[in-house]
């Protein structure tokens, strides 16, 4: 029996099982693309899709006008974490940071998009007796919204650039915030909150998603204190299903892992230092 099979609240954790995807991309309809500060919460109806597990992602492309944007892009679909799923309705959190995400942010109710997924690995439940603790940065809060729902609303430590971006924190419960400029919550970075939390919580299991520098700080903290941690990584990818080998990050024991099939959720111990690199395409 693995240490993860004995759960305190087993029924909820049954939802953390990696789903397989239909082989073909499918058309799904947009219910809404709501403004949440600088972010958009994209909600789609996906009746044919399997239920994803928190941490998994989908490849998305709009059915119309995908291409012919800036520099005649986007061309490839974009990888987005599920931010939630219930009864055939999936949600994704978007931020306009390039021609692909810009086009997705423009979606309106009734429009259609291509979706392939659920793809990748999911978070795994904490071992018996361990308390889940969520740590998110910026758009990286997306999979934590979904995970918090599954794990019974554990506390979330969240870091953002500024006050405007902290509006994203409203999508989670029981949050403590930092901002880079101190305009909301504590001034600083979220790994400082994590460090303090771990000072008086010996039995945490950390679940983190955010920019590379944040994830590296979380990885290093948890490694130094022998705290189990799962990190959801972001990387530019062409396919999302292991075909292109484009989304690799260095593995601790040499070679690379593919973020799309070996991740995006990986045990922090599998990783070498997380390098600051920009994932393309966006």
């Amino acid at each position: 029996m693995s240490p993860n099979e004995d759960h305190a609240t087993a029924p909820a954790y049954e939802r953390l099982e990696r789903a397989t995807a239909p082989l073909e991309r499918r058309l799904v309809s947009v219910i809404a693309c709501e403004r949440v500060g600088p972010y958009r919460l994209l909600r789609v109806v996906d009746p044919a899709g399997p239920r994803p597990a928190a941490g998994q992602f989908a490849m998305l492309a709009t059915a119309e006008r995908w291409g012919a944007g800036e520099d005649e892009r986007p061309y490839l679909p974009r990888a987005l974490s599920f931010a939630g799923w219930a009864d055939g309705e999936a949600s994704f959190l978007l931020e306009d940071v390039g021609p692909g995400t810009k086009r997705l942010c423009e979606l309106r109710a009734g429009e259609e998009l291509w979706m392939l997924g659920p793809l990748g690995t999911c978070f795994t439940p904490p071992a018996h007796g361990r308390r889940p603790l969520l740590v998110g940065g910026g758009i990286g809060i997306a999979p934590l919204i979904f995970l918090q729902d599954v794990l019974g609303k554990p506390a979330a430590l969240l870091g953002f650039r500024d006050r405007a971006h902290t509006l994203g924190a409203g999508l989670l419960h029981d949050t403590r915030l930092t901002t880079d400029d101190g305009s909301e919550g504590r001034r600083g970075v979220v790994s400082e909150l994590l460090s303090e939390e771990l000072d008086h919580e010996e039995n945490a299991t950390v679940y983190a998603c955010g920019p590379p520098a944040m994830l590296e700080a979380v990885r290093a903290l948890c490694a130094a204190r022998s705290v189990p941690a799962e990190l959801a990584l972001e990387a530019g990818m062409a396919c999302g299903f292991g075909a292109c080998y484009g989304c690799v990050v260095p593995r601790r024991d040499g070679g690379y892992l593919r973020v799309c099939v070996d991740g995006p959720v990986v045990d922090a111990r599998e990783l070498e230092q997380i390098e600051a690199h920009v994932g393309a395409p966006a």
Binding site: P22, R25, Y75, A238, F241, Y245, Y256
Partner: protein, 296 residues
């Protein structure tokens, strides 16, 4: 629905296969489950390039999206010949379609070892030679030099009775001269085009000086819709110059694009980058080809 094609003694269910390195059937089985084998998108499966020794591939970043295309600098990550034979081949041999194994040596001697090893395995229906490998002495791709291509074929042709496909590089002065050298050397088929050598610079940062390459490997290869017209020109030129069958590929997204390559003289068409956008696209193109044929 069948649209059978005879290719290298193989009876293919339809004329659509994959380009090497654009579909990982083993990873796809884990992602898509049993549906992959039930609705396999290709009439034959071409493996990623296998080298004599294991390779990790190039450091990231490995991808750059460009106007209607993709520049990649993957660097041929693969488990090496021994692990391919012992670990991957048993899994690939259970696919519902014939297996073509793609190999690349950094010298003719390495190609000899690779072809000899593949020749012994019944699971492998045909061998594709990736000749887009730089000669360590000249810096030129082996496949861009008709003399070296002739030497390669002279070395490997006698080693196997299995069909040999030579994957030509478009990065040469005259693809027809290279195609003839490969065919004269005993290649049973030619496949083209491989990616076009390409480059992307890192995004410019205000206040910083000159920027360097974006891709970890320095340069990469361009594929996708952007290369379609180049592929058509090269496939047409090669197909009318040699007597062996041609596998045409480059920017195929729909049945109409596959039909163009078939009309230009290809016997079989490979889909590559478009499978990244939709893993089932090979099957859909095959169905559309059949539908358009029966409606004529």
């Amino acid at each position: 629905m069948r649209h059978p094609v005879s290719f290298l003694g193989l009876e293919l269910a339809h004329p659509i296969i994959n380009g090497s390195g654009t579909f990982d059937a083993i990873a796809a089985r884990a992602v898509f489950g049993a549906e992959l084998d039930c609705a396999f998108p290709f009439a034959a499966f071409v493996s990623k390039t296998i080298t004599l020794r294991a390779q990790d591939g190039n450091p990231p970043p490995r991808l750059w999206e460009t106007a209607s295309g993709l520049v990649n600098s993957i660097g041929l990550p693969n488990p090496g010949l021994d692990a391919y034979m012992s670990r991957d081949l048993p899994q690939l041999s259970t696919l519902p379609v014939p297996l073509i194994t793609n190999v690349m040596g950094s010298t003719i001697e390495e190609f000899v070892d690779l072809v000899a090893a593949c020749s012994e395995r019944d699971e492998i229906a045909a061998i594709e030679l990736n000749v887009s490998c730089p000669n360590v002495k000249t810096g030129l791709d082996l496949g861009s030099d008709p003399v070296q291509l002739g030497q390669l074929l002279a070395a490997v042709r006698p080693l196997t009775g299995k069909p040999l496909i030579v994957k030509l590089t478009p990065n040469c002065a005259d693809v027809v001269v290279c195609a003839k050298a490969a065919a004269d050397g005993g290649a049973d088929a030619l496949s083209l085009i491989n990616t076009l050598r390409a480059m992307a610079l890192a995004p410019r940062v205000v206040g910083a000086g000159r920027v360097g390459p974006w891709l970890g490997g320095g340069t990469g290869g361009l594929s996708g819709a952007a290369v379609r017209a180049v592929a058509l020109a090269q496939v047409a030129a090669v197909a009318r110059s040699v007597d062996v069958p041609v596998v045409g590929m480059g920017g195929v997204q729909r049945a109409a694009h596959a039909r163009d390559l078939l009309d230009a003289g290809a016997t079989v068409v490979a889909v590559g980058t478009e499978s990244f956008r939709d893993p089932a696209v090979g099957a859909r193109i095959a169905q559309e080809l059949l539908a358009s044929r029966s409606s004529v």
